[in-house]
Structures are given as structure tokens and as C-alpha cells.
């Protein structure tokens, strides 16, 4: 037995054996693979460097566009450009031919005010907006116009105003962008014109204007003090509203702009956060700590707030496609125009439809995605779910970017809000 185990297997080398290898040619397929890999590498290198050039060029074009315009502008002659910009920014309210709307929107065509004030008056109105009665051609309108200071740059404002003054009101001269820049500097950060009376005091030679309205009645003092604390420093364990939404309610990225949203909409959202029908952990945390009075007061606070737009297209969306969806909709995919419900220029329609104009694109796109996915489902009649599902991510980005390029909503005037406040009793019932 023992000797059997010790016996060496003759097939195995003995312990002194040193393994060695003889050189052999590398098989041809290995060369082929090596050469193919090298060629592939070079192709990839060239292609990616080409890709970088393409993207650099795109960005340069984008930057140039950002500098000159947020709306698409090409090297059209000034008049055609003015017309295009007018159609994109003003025509939703003032009409393509500047005829206005009887009793609601003053005409620009043959307007005595534009004839008297010229392009400069148009620029000054567009830079600050209007909030008060204004008389045009002898008719008094309850002026309520957004300011376009943040949505349009000097060149664009000059083009639009020159177009309005020369084509609609028969003025000989337009206005230069440099002059617009001066006016912008002078009017920076000012409240909207309090109607035609204030305008007439700044621009000489305007037709007779109605008297300045009485200042809005102050809200109940206790309410505003409470809101002031909530917004600026927070109360109890809730954070200050302004610490995320900004001191002007302007928002940023996925934190929405609140300034100028309908009061009823804000209140409904806070109720929904409270009851868990709209999901957002941070907002649920805040809303659950708010009393009914605080919710109504905060809603009113943000509804009358005015803030220049801080939103800029940032999702690389196709602005032309976004404009198409917003203004006309796309029935091939079953999407109605945003503006049919959310109002002309996306200014919102109280009480149910929030303003979309000047909202941050990341917020808009994210909410659309949430409607589509079902994690947001609190729209009236479930309207937004269908729209969210119909829009793919390219369309979402396009429409979000377009809406971000618009002028911010003209906030509900304080006088009107006070009237609404008095007529609607506060109830739990409007939560759904």
C-alpha cells in the first residue's frame, strides 16, 4: 500500500523542471482586431471633437440670442422685427392690428395717447406696466398691464415701440435702444404707473386723464402683521416663506414663483398640501402648521405681490415649439393651448388657473412630469393629467422654456382683491 502511494506518476515533470515557452507568431486575427480597435478609436476621437465644436457653436449662438433677445429674433429689418415681437408679446391682448378690445383693452392704433407721447410713452408704459384708470380716445379703461422690463431687452423694446408708434399711430420717428436703456435706468424698480394721471405728470402733452384712484384700503392690520412674520422670519417651527420663495415671491428653479398667482389657487394648494392631495414634503410640513386664517392671508399676500421675472429659458427647449403649444395647442397629440385656460399670455385665470408666465422652467417641466406620472393629481376635473401624459419630455421642456420667457403676470390690484375678499366667505369647502 505504502509503496503504491509513493510511486511517481511518469506523466508529471519532476521537481527540477523549469517551464519555458517558445516564441510563436501572433495569430493574424489578433492583428486585425488591434488595427480595427485603433481605427475605431481615431474615429471616435474625431467624432467627439466634432461634437464639441457643434455644441460650442450652439452655445455661442444661444448666448448671442440671450444677449439680444429671449424671443427668437433674426437679422430682420427693424420694422419686421418690431412687428414679429408685437405679435408675440402684445397681440394677445391688444390684437394683431392694435385695435384693443372694447371696454377692456385700450387700442394702440390711432390712439391719442400714443400719438401724443410717441414711442417714448410706449416704452415707459411697457417698462413699468399700468395699474389704474387710463383714458384713450376719450374712453376710460381700468388699466391693468404687466411690465415687460424683465421679459424684453432694450433692442426689443425699441423695435416694438417704434413699430407701435410708426405703424399704428402715424409717428415719424421711432426710438433708439440707447434711449430705451436710459429710460430703463430711470424707471428701474418703480411700481407700475398708477393710471393715466401719473403718466401724464411724467410725459407732457398727453390727452386728459382720469384722476388718480384712492390708495387701496389696507388689509386688516392683525392679518398683515401675522403674514409679515410668516413670510420674513417664519413662525413656530415653520420656516420663513421668503427663505425659499424669495423676498419678492420670485422663486427659483423648482421652488415656484408665487407673486401674482390667484389667491384662491394658492389657498387651494396649501389646503391640498395639508390634506395630502398634493405631495411635497417641505410644503406639507409648512401647510400642516398653518391655520385657515393664515392660509387665506398668505394667499392674499402673494396674489397682490409684484416681482420682475427672474425666470429664463434654461432647459434647451425649442421656443418656437413651446410657443405653438402654449398659444395654439397641438391637436395631433390632443393638447389644447395652455392659454385657453390659463388666460392670454399665460397670466392665469382666477380662481382655478394659475399664471404660467415667468414661472421657472424647471418647476413647470417638473410639474408636467408629475401630472403625467400621477404624483400630482389635484387639478380641477383632472384636466392636467391628460395634458401631462400627452407631452413628451422634449415638449415639456419646450413649453416650460417658452413660458419662462414671458412677461410676469400683472398682479391682482389691491383694490380688486379687497372687494373679492369681502364678497367671498372663507370656507373649508373650497379645498377640493
Amino acid at each position: 500500500m505504502m509503496s503504491d502511494k509513493m510511486k511517481q506518476d511518469p506523466r508529471l515533470p519532476d521537481e527540477t523542471f523549469e517551464p519555458f515557452e517558445e516564441s510563436r507568431r501572433i495569430p493574424l486575427p489578433v492583428y486585425w482586431i488591434a488595427i480595427a480597435l485603433a481605427i475605431w478609436g481615431v474615429i471616435m476621437l474625431v467624432e467627439t471633437s466634432h461634437s464639441t465644436q457643434v455644441a460650442d457653436k450652439e452655445r455661442a449662438a444661444q448666448n448671442a440670442q440671450d444677449v439680444t433677445a429671449t424671443a427668437p429674433v433674426t437679422a430682420e429689418p427693424a420694422a419686421a422685427q418690431g412687428h414679429a415681437l408685437f405679435t408675440a408679446n402684445c397681440a394677445t391682448c391688444h390684437g394683431d392690428l392694435g385695435a384693443g378690445s372694447t371696454g377692456a383693452v385700450p387700442p394702440l392704433a390711432k390712439s391719442d395717447l400714443v400719438q401724443a407721447g410717441g414711442a417714448e410713452a410706449v416704452v415707459r408704459i411697457a417698462l413699468r406696466g399700468i395699474d389704474g384708470p387710463i383714458a384713450v380716445n376719450g374712453v376710460t379703461y381700468n388699466g391693468h398691464m404687466p411690465n415687460f422690463a424683465s421679459a424684453l431687452d432694450d433692442k426689443q423694446l425699441a423695435a416694438i415701440s417704434s413699430h407701435v408708434a410708426t405703424s399704428f399711430a402715424g409717428a415719424k420717428d421711432g426710438i433708439e435702444p440707447t434711449k430705451v436703456a436710459e429710460l430703463r435706468k430711470a424707471d428701474a424698480g418703480k411700481d407700475p404707473w398708477a393710471g393715466g394721471a401719473e403718466l401724464a405728470s411724467a410725459i407732457t402733452g398727453l390727452p386728459a386723464q382720469p384722476a388718480r384712484p384712492a390708495p387701496a384700503p389696507a388689509m386688516a392690520a392683525t392679518q398683515s402683521a401675522d403674514v409679515e412674520t410668516l413670510v420674513k422670519t417664519g413662525a413656530g417651527y415653520i420656516w420663513a416663506c421668503a427663505s425659499c420663495h424669495g423676498d419678492k415671491g420670485q422663486g427659483m428653479e423648482t421652488t415656484p414663483r408665487l407673486a401674482g398667482l390667484p389667491a384662491a389657487y394658492i389657498a387651494k394648494q396649501l389646503h391640498d398640501f395639508q390634506q395630502g392631495t398634493r405631495f411635497n414634503d417641505s410644503m406639507a410640513y409648512v401647510a400642516k402648521a398653518l391655520s385657515e386664517e393664515q392660509i387665506q392671508a398668505l394667499a392674499a399676500h402673494y396674489a397682490v405681490m409684484r416681482a420682475p421675472s427672474t425666470a429664463r429659458p434654461s432647459l434647451k427647449g425649442d421656443l418656437a415649439r413651446g410657443e405653438q403649444i402654449a398659444r395654439e395647442g397641438d391637436w395631433s397629440i390632443g393638447v389644447p393651448a395652455c392659454f385657453t385656460c390659463h388666460g392670454p399670455s399665460g397670466f392665469g385665470v382666477a380662481p382655478d388657473f394659475p399664471a404660467l408666465a415667468a414661472q421657472h422652467p424647471a418647476y413647470t417641466a417638473r410639474q408636467l412630469a408629475m401630472w403625467a406620472g400621477g404624483s400630482r393629481h389635484n387639478s380641477p376635473l383632472g384636466l392636467m393629467a391628460g395634458i401631462g401624459k400627452a407631452l413628451n419630455d422634449v415638449d415639456r421642456r419646450a413649453v416650460a422654456d417658452y413660458l419662462a420667457s414671458l412677461a410676469p403676470v400683472p398682479a391682482t390690484p389691491k383694490t380688486e382683491l379687497a372687494a373679492i375678499d369681502a364678497s367671498i366667505p372663507v370656507s373649508e369647502g373650497d379645498a377640493q
Partner: protein, 217 residues
């Protein structure tokens, strides 16, 4: 095994090639970039906060590199635009991170600028999101009977608040929040900034095709 020299030389040459193309060349490219216009150097508090960020190992769960829209919906998530090399000019070492167990933090200062929110969330993430898996950092805070002058009291709902007294933030917590609040990358990136443009060519080609299809209709 008797040809050590050629073997060693080949091995070193391969290593040198790799170092040249993966380390030296990109290093020169990035070194020439400089900070993005619009990027501010860290303030003292932010720099201290960055050290806290590093020491807490935040990068194991949070990246600092939003991707471009062609690659990921980061911009739609509110995580900001795709970052470029110049955005990290003041970061040594950078905190790019690879894991996204939590959200990307490159643009957190724009998305969640609230000091109060950040402090509550650091003290106890579950106070805000019951499902959050982020660790709590109670050791960055102090339990006091009365807040002293200049103390920042943390907002806390009842289940998480101490029975008596208040929770105040230590300097480390305040610095960390200052750092997070300063994480703003909204400024426009330089046009020629180094970045991954891998899909730009394909996107451009697709755009051309759709444009051609539209034109022929």
C-alpha cells in the same frame, strides 16, 4: 522569465502613455480654463463649511455634477445646468462624487436657499420627509435651556423637538449651511468651457433630419 528589461520598459511605457492621456493632457486642458466667469471664490464661512462637507463624507451619497439635458433630466429636476470644468476652479479636491443616493447638490443654493430648512433637515431629515434615508447629524447641534445671544434656533415640529429647551446650531452646522447656500451655478457657463458634449453631434443630426422632414411636408 529572463527578459526583465524589455518587460519592465514595455510596462512603464504603457503606464506612461496612460498617464499622459488620462492625467497630464486633461490636467493641462483644465488648468488653462480658470474659474468660470460668474463663479465667486468661497467666503471664509463657506470654506469652513466645505471642510465640514468633506469630513462628513457627503460625497458618498451626493454628487456635484449635473448632467446635460441630452443625458439625464437633471435640469428638469431643478438640479441646474450641466457643470463645466471652470465651475470647480476653487474646489481642491473636488467633490464630484459618483453616487446619487441623495440628490445632486451642485445647485442646491438656488433650489433650497433657506437656512431654516437646511438646519431642520440636517438635524433630522425625517422631520421633513418621513421616507428619507439620509443620516441625521444631531452632533452638529447643541441642546440648550435658553438660546444665547446670536444663537440660531432650529425650527422643529413637536415629535422631534426636545421636551424642554431649544436646539441651536453649532458653528459647524452654520458653516455647512453657508456652503450649501453658496452652491449657486445659475450664471451662464463659458461657451468653450470643457464639458461632455458626447451627444451634441447626434442631437444636431436628429434636429437636421426633423427640420428636413418638416420642410418637405
Amino acid at each position: 522569465m529572463n527578459r526583465y528589461l524589455p518587460l519592465a520598459i514595455t510596462a512603464l511605457a504603457i503606464l506612461a502613455m496612460a498617464t499622459l492621456f488620462l492625467v497630464i493632457a486633461p490636467g493641462m486642458q483644465i488648468g488653462a480654463q480658470g474659474p468660470s466667469p460668474g463663479l465667486k471664490p468661497y467666503t471664509e464661512a463657506e470654506a469652513r463649511g466645505r471642510d465640514v462637507y468633506v469630513s462628513m463624507g457627503c460625497l458618498y451619497c451626493h454628487s456635484q455634477q449635473p448632467r446635460s439635458i441630452a443625458q439625464a433630466p437633471d435640469a428638469e429636476r431643478g438640479w441646474g445646468r450641466a457643470s463645466v470644468a471652470g465651475d470647480y476652479a476653487y474646489d481642491a479636491p473636488h467633490q464630484l462624487g459618483t453616487m446619487r443616493t441623495g440628490p445632486d447638490l451642485m445647485d442646491i443654493g438656488d433650489r433650497l436657499p433657506s437656512q431654516g430648512w437646511q438646519l431642520t433637515h440636517l438635524y433630522q431629515p425625517r422631520a421633513i420627509s418621513s421616507w428619507s434615508i439620509m443620516p441625521a447629524y444631531p452632533f452638529l447641534f447643541e441642546h440648550k435651556d435658553e438660546p444665547g445671544p446670536g444663537d440660531v434656533v432650529v425650527h422643529l415640529p413637536a415629535p422631534y423637538a426636545p421636551e424642554t429647551g431649544v436646539i441651536v446650531a453649532k458653528q459647524d452646522a452654520l458653516d455647512l449651511v453657508a456652503y450649501l447656500q453658496g452652491m449657486k451655478r445659475q450664471y451662464a457657463p463659458p461657451t468653450d468651457g470643457l464639458r461632455d458634449d458626447g451627444y451634441a453631434l447626434i442631437a444636431a443630426q436628429q434636429q437636421k433630419q426633423t427640420d428636413a422632414a418638416k420642410a418637405s411636408n
